[in-house]
Structures are given as structure tokens and as C-alpha cells.
């Protein structure tokens, strides 16, 4: 990793024995004042990033639902009771099951359906190409408000409200075009000569795609899968609207059930939040390197 510094114009104050005044600093070195300032800003930013999550964790250790009002008292009575209660007496495992079904279903459909299209728009120019690319792009911009009403009506007619399949299909409206878009970007990085070699050796376009390119594109498929996974996991609007029976709630809906207008079991909510956040964050940290490159590298120029 090459790094370059953008130095702040601070007085050059070298960490060298005195006696070499005026010696210019080497690139990448900083004056002590500038580096202290950088650390100070980064520490403040880190605390800001950390605090809400840490606070949730801290509140989850307090046994009463009003402990968030006087957090000081939690120290004296730290307990894991909330966790025990959430795991034993709430729908936590139902929600886990629902979440996994919906998320994995969405991911599978997204990746499988989008792969060949990503390849086609990366390699071939056909009548209607630009229209298809435009549709793929515009679909990324759909506010949930555009599809949620008609989807609700259509799924009602099909008896698919409150079913996993319905929610998976709705999630696919955004996931499939985005996966196609991401994969196109990845296929573009695979040299074209490989396809040509395959064609010369007598493979059909489908054979080239399936036998040569797909194995090479595994990292691209993985990025699309991670993205689908995270998006479906964090989806709130459709899940809150379409899932009616509490054993089919995904985590995003289940977590809301702790807060009603009359009563808020904040301690249980905090414990559930922590139980959801830890695996989700671990997963994110494992795949984040791929995500960032994928997000900004997809698609066409011009």
C-alpha cells in the first residue's frame, strides 16, 4: 500500500537531536504537532463512531427497562439476564430462521439470475443493449414508495403477503439489477482473449461463459453475494409491511416489536440488538475489502 501524505502546514519540528536545524523533513514524515492533531481528531471520530454501539451493549447489561434513564446504576447490577430472556422467551430464533431464509433466498436468486446477464452486457453488443443498461441503472434509483403499493396489491392477489417467497421476490427487484451491474464490472476486467481462445477451440458462447469465465469470476460473484446478503439483511420497509405473523418476522421487524406506543422493553431490545449486531459486524469486516472495490468499480464509462 503506497501512502502519500497531505501535510498540514505546521512548523517543522523534527524528532532529531538538535543541531540539524532547517533540515527539511523527508516525505511521509510529519511534524509532531501535526501528528498529534491528526491523532486527536481520529480519536474523537473513533469515539463518536463507537459510542452508540457501545452504549447499546452497556444498556443490554442492565436488568430493568428504565435503566437507560440512569445508566450509572447499571454498574452495580450488571447481569446477562436480558440475553437469557431474549434467547429463551422471545421469538429470537424464529426471527433468525426467517432472516436466513429470506436473505439466503434473495442472495441465491440474485447471483444465479444476474450472472449470465452480467456476462452478456460485458461481452456483447446487441440491439436493445443501451435500453437494458438504462433500465438496470434506473432500477437502482427506485424509492421504496414506487413499488411498495403495487407490490402489496399484486402479492395480495397472489396470496403471497406474509410469505417468505413474497419478500424474497420483492427484495429481488433491487438486488437482481444491481448484481448484474456489479458482475458486468467484474467481467470487464477479465481479458477478452480468453473468450476468443475458447471460441477458437470450438466452445459455444454459453460454453465459454460456463466453463472458462465463470470459474475466473468467482471473486466477482462473491462480491455480488455479499452485497445481496447485507442489503436483504438490513431491509426494513418491505419486511415491516409484508410480514404479518410474528414467527415470520425478520430481525429488522422483530426488533421493532419491543417498542410499542405504551411500553418499551428497552433492556430486551438492547440485548437483541447486540445479538444481531455482533455476527453482522463480523461478517461485514470479513468481506468489507471486496465490497468497497465492487461498489465503485462496476459499470460502464460514458
Amino acid at each position: 500500500m503506497s501512502t502519500t501524505t497531505v501535510e498540514t502546514p505546521a512548523p517543522a519540528d523534527e524528532r532529531r537531536p538538535a543541531g540539524a536545524p532547517g533540515r527539511t523533513r523527508r516525505r511521509g514524515e510529519q511534524s509532531r504537532a501535526a501528528s498529534l492533531a491528526s491523532h486527536a481528531v481520529l480519536i474523537v471520530a473513533s469515539l463518536t463512531a463507537l459510542f452508540p454501539v457501545a452504549w447499546l451493549f452497556f444498556l443490554s447489561l442492565g436488568p430493568d427497562k428504565d435503566d437507560y434513564l440512569h445508566p450509572g446504576r447499571i454498574w452495580g447490577k450488571i447481569t446477562l439476564d436480558n440475553y437469557a430472556f431474549v434467547l429463551q422467551d422471545t421469538g429470537f430464533f424464529d426471527w433468525l430462521k426467517s432472516t436466513l431464509i429470506v436473505v439466503l433466498g434473495t442472495t441465491l436468486i440474485g447471483v444465479v439470475v444476474a450472472a449470465s446477464t452480467g456476462y452478456a452486457v460485458s461481452r456483447m453488443r446487441f440491439p436493445g443493449y443501451r435500453k437494458l443498461m438504462w433500465v438496470l441503472l434506473v432500477t437502482q434509483m427506485f424509492p421504496i414508495a414506487v413499488l411498495i403499493v403495487p407490490m402489496y396489491q399484486i402479492l395480495s392477489d397472489l396470496q403471497l403477503i406474509d410469505s417468505y417467497l413474497g419478500l424474497i421476490l420483492v427484495n429481488c427487484t433491487t438486488i437482481v439489477p444491481y448484481c448484474a451491474w456489479l458482475m458486468k464490472g467484474y467481467f470487464d476486467t477479465i481479458p477478452f482473449e480468453i473468450d476468443e481462445a475458447g471460441r477458437v477451440d470450438g466452445l459455444t458462447p454459453f460454453g465459454t461463459f460456463a466453463r472458462l469465465i465463470l470459474p475466473l469470476a468467482k471473486p466477482g460473484l462473491a462480491v455480488a453475494a455479499f452485497y445481496s446478503f447485507l442489503t436483504a439483511f438490513g431491509e426494513v420497509a418491505f419486511a415491516s409491511t409484508f410480514m404479518l405473523s410474528d414467527d415470520k418476522y425478520t430481525f429488522a421487524v422483530g426488533l421493532q416489536t419491543f417498542v410499542s406506543e405504551h411500553d418499551a422493553q428497552r433492556n430486551l431490545m438492547a440485548a437483541t440488538a447486540v445479538l444481531i449486531a455482533i455476527p453482522a459486524a463480523i461478517f461485514f469486516y470479513l468481506v468489507q475489502k471486496n465490497l468497497v472495490t465492487g461498489l465503485t468499480a462496476g459499470g460502464t464509462k460514458g
Binding site: S2, Y68, T117
Partner: protein, 334 residues
């Protein structure tokens, strides 16, 4: 511009005999490109069934007076047929310039524009600042980066509740302010502070993405450019202004566009932070959702009309944005 070449055969589209008739053209096209069409078929079918059909149906609904009282529904064992009727463009007229249109649409529109501009500016500014800091040779850089992406790593629907506890009456933020003898606003009740809180929480959630993308952009700038500019006597500000910013241009235009689209469409944060309690802090997306699902009777037609209006706003914005980029000879990386 992409050149229209079928790369598999290497033929240019321009080098052709006089155009045959439409039927013949279709046949030729199918014959020549059938495998391309076979490959895009899955996505084309999914888009047609899951996006275009509902979109068309939604458009049709906006031309009717459908609510939860007159659509087809089942109550117990009785199936009630739909009785809503066609009313043309009345919904749009009513939303845009009907009575109380200002309170229903325009006030939310203005707030949505402000919200989008404020959030994207904050996301980009703070993200760029942190990316510049992380791009130095610092001790503990990796640890800082790990901690700073935390708001992105934990799902939004979880962290919003953390913020809710903190912002609540008697929550930690107000307790802290009280200790310092500062005024303690009611963050989740008062309109101004509701909006303030919404922007604050969304900023907290959105900075990491910008930071990481811009950090990637910074690391792809050629170090020799900095060396050359330093040789030419450029000071830190000039290096930032004439090397860093131009080097970030393509990443910036992309993340700003994505940021605008995402912020404009941001649903989860406002929905979970306020529920149904804050009519004035709702942006257009959440407002449309409330019309369609958060009230009785549910006003499906108006909600769908809001959806169509929102999509139109975004498409117009994006095409202007791209045109503006083209005028300045910039590329969008998406």
C-alpha cells in the same frame, strides 16, 4: 461512448447493406444475437415481472382513487370486489396544487431537498477529512479505520435504536448536557430538533462509506505527482487543491451521485427513529409510506402517486447531473 461492436464477431454496425424491413431485421437480429438474448433472458424476465409490471400497475393505480376501503379484500369469509374508479390525473393535481398542497407535498419536498443537501455535504466533507487523515503514515491507522467503519458494519436498523435510547428524554445525551448546564432540547418531540436528530443520525451512518471510497481514491493517486508538485514548490494547500482534488474527481462524482440517491430514498432511519410521531420530520419517501400504510384508511392511490413523483424527480436530477458532468468532460464511474 461505447462503440457498437459485437466483439465476438468484430463487425461494426455501420458497415451494412441498405436496411431490410422490420420483420427481416428482427429475424436477422435474433439469428445473429440469439445467444445474447438467451443470456439476458433471466434478468429481462425478472425485471419485466417484478419491476416493470408493478411499475405499470402502480401508474394505473395513481389514476384511480384506490384506498384500503375500495380495493378487493377478504374479510373473514366474504370476498369484497374492488370498487375504485378511474379519476385521471386528479391525484397528481391534488398533490401538487390542491388545497393544503403546501402542507402535504411542498413542505416535505423542501425539507427533503434540504435533508439531502445537508446530509450529502456532511457525508462528503467529514468522509474526505477522515480519509485524508487516514492516508498518512500514522501509528494505529488500521485500528482507526476498523473503528471508523463500525457505523457501516452494524446494520442501520440496529444502530438507530441505540440513537433512540441516547436521544430519549432523560437519555445519556441530555444527561450529559445537563451536567454541563447546557439547554436540553427534546430531540425526538420538537420539530426542529427532530430534523436535527435525523440529519445527525444519518450523517453518523453514512460517513464510513464515503470515507472508505475516498480513501481508495486517495491511494490510487500517483505518488510521483506529489513529489513533482513539491519539487515545483507547491505548499500543502496547493498540493491538495491541484493534485488531490482532481485525482479524486471520478470517485467523487460517483459517490456524490450515489449519496444523493441513497439519502433521498433513505427510509429506515426516519421510519425507525420517529415511527408515526413526527409528521414534519418525514421526508417524501417516508411520508408516502405513511399515506399508503401508516394510516387508516390506507390511501394507496396517493401513495403510489408520490412514488411516481419521487422517481421522476430522481431521474430528472440524474440526467441533469450526467449532462453537467459531460459538459465538464468528466466521467461517471457507474
Amino acid at each position: 461512448m461505447t462503440v457498437a461492436i459485437d466483439r465476438a464477431t468484430g463487425k461494426r454496425r455501420g458497415e451494412r447493406e441498405p436496411r431490410p424491413g422490420p420483420v427481416q431485421r428482427l429475424k436477422n437480429g435474433l439469428h445473429k444475437h440469439w445467444y445474447a438474448y438467451a443470456m439476458i433472458a433471466p434478468v429481462a424476465i425478472v425485471l419485466a415481472v417484478l419491476v416493470l409490471y408493478p411499475l405499470g400497475y402502480g401508474l394505473y393505480l395513481t389514476l384511480t382513487d384506490a384506498t384500503s376501503l375500495n380495493t378487493a379484500r377478504t374479510i373473514g369469509v366474504n370476498e369484497i370486489d374492488a370498487t375504485y374508479k378511474f379519476i385521471g390525473l386528479d391525484n397528481y393535481a391534488d398533490i401538487l396544487w390542491g388545497p393544503t398542497a403546501y402542507d402535504r407535498f411542498w413542505s416535505h419536498f423542501l425539507w427533503t431537498v434540504f435533508w439531502t443537501a445537508a446530509c450529502v455535504t456532511l457525508h462528503y466533507g467529514i468522509g474526505l477529512g477522515l480519509a485524508l487523515l487516514l492516508n498518512q503514515k500514522l501509528r494505529g491507522r488500521t485500528l482507526y479505520r476498523m473503528i471508523l467503519v463500525l457505523p457501516w458494519a452494524v446494520p442501520t436498523f440496529v444502530t438507530v435504536f441505540g440513537w433512540r435510547f441516547m436521544l430519549a428524554d432523560g437519555g445519556i445525551i441530555n444527561s450529559g448536557l445537563e451536567l454541563l448546564h447546557l439547554p436540553t432540547p427534546s430531540w425526538l418531540e420538537d420539530t426542529f430538533w427532530q430534523r436535527f436528530s435525523a440529519i445527525m443520525v444519518n450523517t453518523w451512518c453514512g460517513v464510513p462509506f464515503m470515507m472508505v471510497s475516498l480513501l481508495g481514491g486517495l491511494q490510487s493517486i500517483d505518488a510521483s505527482l506529489y513529489e513533482a508538485s513539491e519539487m515545483d514548490g507547491a505548499n500543502a494547500w496547493q498540493r491538495f487543491r491541484y493534485v488531490t482534488l482532481p485525482g479524486l474527481r471520478s470517485v467523487s462524482t460517483t459517490v456524490v451521485l450515489l449519496g444523493v440517491i441513497w439519502t433521498f430514498n433513505q427510509f429506515a432511519i426516519i421510519f425507525l427513529l420517529f415511527g408515526n410521531t413526527a409528521p414534519d420530520a418525514q421526508i417524501l419517501v417516508t411520508w408516502a409510506y405513511q399515506l399508503g400504510f401508516g394510516q387508516q384508511p390506507r390511501d394507496y392511490a396517493q401513495s403510489a402517486a408520490y412514488g411516481i413523483l419521487l422517481l421522476s424527480i430522481l431521474i430528472v436530477f440524474t440526467s441533469f447531473y450526467r449532462r453537467w458532468l459531460n459538459r465538464n468532460e468528466q466521467q461517471l464511474a457507474i
